[in-house]
Amino acid sequence: MELAGKIIFWFYAVVIVAGGGLAVTSPNLVRAMLGLIATLFGVAGMYLLMNAPLLAFMQLLIYVGAVSVLIFFAIMLSRASATGDEGMEPGLWPNVRAFLAFALPMGVLGLTAFLAPPAGVLVPAEVDPAKLGQALLGEYTLPFELISIVLLAAMAGAVLIAFEKRGSK
């Protein structure tokens, strides 16, 4: 199982990186969204691999089922052309800027991860969803409530913003 696990891990890793690459470089936004979805699937697969199926399914439910659909909606609303006016900006400075944004955190965080490897467990244990629920309502009530407030605020804000325009126009 060890070998199979490794193969699967690398497969997911390739999917994630390839999807991510497509997502940030494709001039066509719908294809970029497709890349994002591939990445999301890869991440979900990794969650499964690290024995957290709840996270994996929630990842699919929230990201693939809701967020990517919202993104698609946004693409349709903004009427991005199918051929795409989106892509790398010409010129040296924007490219350097983008590369720096990529490389700096990569270097710092990657080095940290490499230099300070934590004492790892090889086979992670699955967490019972019930335990999660108890923690949510016990130990972590405050963040839970906070996130619900954030969601509510976001929803109200979205509605408000969208409505404000119609009234003013």
């Binding site: 199926p53 709840l54 399914f57 929630m58 699919l60 693939v64 089922g65 809701a66 349709m76 199918a82």
Partner: protein, 322 residues
């Protein structure tokens, strides 16, 4: 190298499910056309095979033989990815389905969540189909599909959650086991509101009449699959029926006691019987009602199903706590 038993089991299960989906979709299409025929007082398919039973097979053969046509200006990758994306998740969706006491593709603790998670892919495929077709009707169909699916997913989730609350888990087999064989031991009795909400939302999620707006043929010609020919259309068609099987299977397991039968006659036959009863009622709705309008669809969802599902969930939670 020893192959783990679990993996073999899943592979076998997927193969069996593929056969199941294939055979049942064929039968279901035939049942639908036959039922439509009887409702409209005509015989329905009749010529190919006994009582036209092989008509769907003949249609499928025709579809396979047709040219796969990519419209000019369409994005070929998105265009052909969409039908695949509609069809492939079906196998995953059926994996945790409890067909019988032992006949389950894969016992997943979070089976219900798995189904809900992968059901979201369907919307995505509609989006891609509509967008990739480079056709205005398809685009309108996709826009409808998106808002409809996003809206109806919420009451669907909430009504299913009510059952999950009651059973304290998301394992479909466990939920079935908790119910009895007799109708009054079903979850339907305890959760009638959840059942109605689930069923309505399920019809909307599978884009069946009267909620078949994304493909409303009198308005949008064929909506998101206007441009599809041959097996591209065939896969959408197959996916629609396979999805009907999924949602009705979940309904049978959650609300109608799944494979439990009275007098200890548990078995897959009960599950299939309940599944087909639900499928038939879906077909019955389709051939009875006119199509609902788009804003009415959303009003129905936001004003009725959502609050009802919410209240139902709260009441369930309250009672469970008592």
């Amino acid at each position: 190298m020893d192959v783990p038993f679990e993996l073999v089991r899943i592979v076998i299960a997927i193969l069996a499910l593929a056969a199941f989906v294939g055979v049942n979709a064929v039968i279901l299409v035939w049942v639908e056309r036959k039922a439509a025929g009887f409702i409209q007082r005509r015989p329905g398919p009749y010529e190919v095979g006994p009582q036209g039973l092989l008509q769907t097979v003949a249609d499928a053969a025709k579809l396979v033989g047709k040219q796969l046509f990519t419209p000019a200006g369409a994005d070929p990758v998105l265009f052909w990815l969409a039908p695949l994306l509609a069809f492939l998740p079906i196998f995953v969706l059926l994996l945790p389905m409890p067909f019988g006491p032992t006949a389950t593709g894969m016992e997943v603790n979070l089976g219900l969540l798995l189904i809900l998670a992968f059901a979201g892919l369907n919307v995505l495929s509609l989006c891609l189909a509509g967008w990739g077709s480079n056709n205005k009707w398809s685009l309108l169909g996709a826009a409808r599909a998106v808002s409809q699916a996003v809206a109806y997913e919420i009451p669907l989730l909430l009504s299913v959650l009510a059952i999950a609350f009651m059973s304290g888990g998301m394992d479909l087999s466990a939920i079935v086991r908790e119910q009895g064989g007799w109708p009054w031991q079903w979850n339907l009795v305890l959760q009638p509101v959840a059942f109605i909400i689930y069923f309505v939302a399920a019809i909307a999620e599978t884009n069946r009449a009267p909620f078949d707006l994304p493909e409303a043929e009198s308005e949008l010609t064929a909506g998101f699959h206007t441009e599809y020919s041959g097996m591209g259309f065939g896969l959408f068609f197959l996916a629609e029926y396979a999805e009907m099987i999924v949602v009705c299977g979940v309904a049978a397991a959650l609300f109608l006691g799944g494979w439990r039968g009275p007098f200890g006659t548990d078995g897959w036959w009960w599950f299939l019987a309940k599944l087909y009863a639900l499928l038939l009622s879906m077909i019955w709705f389709r051939w009875t009602y006119p199509r609902i309008r788009f804003d009415q669809l959303l009003v129905l969802n936001w004003k009725w199903l959502m609050p009802l599902a919410m209240i139902n969930l709260l009441v369930t939670a309250f009672i469970m706590k008592l």
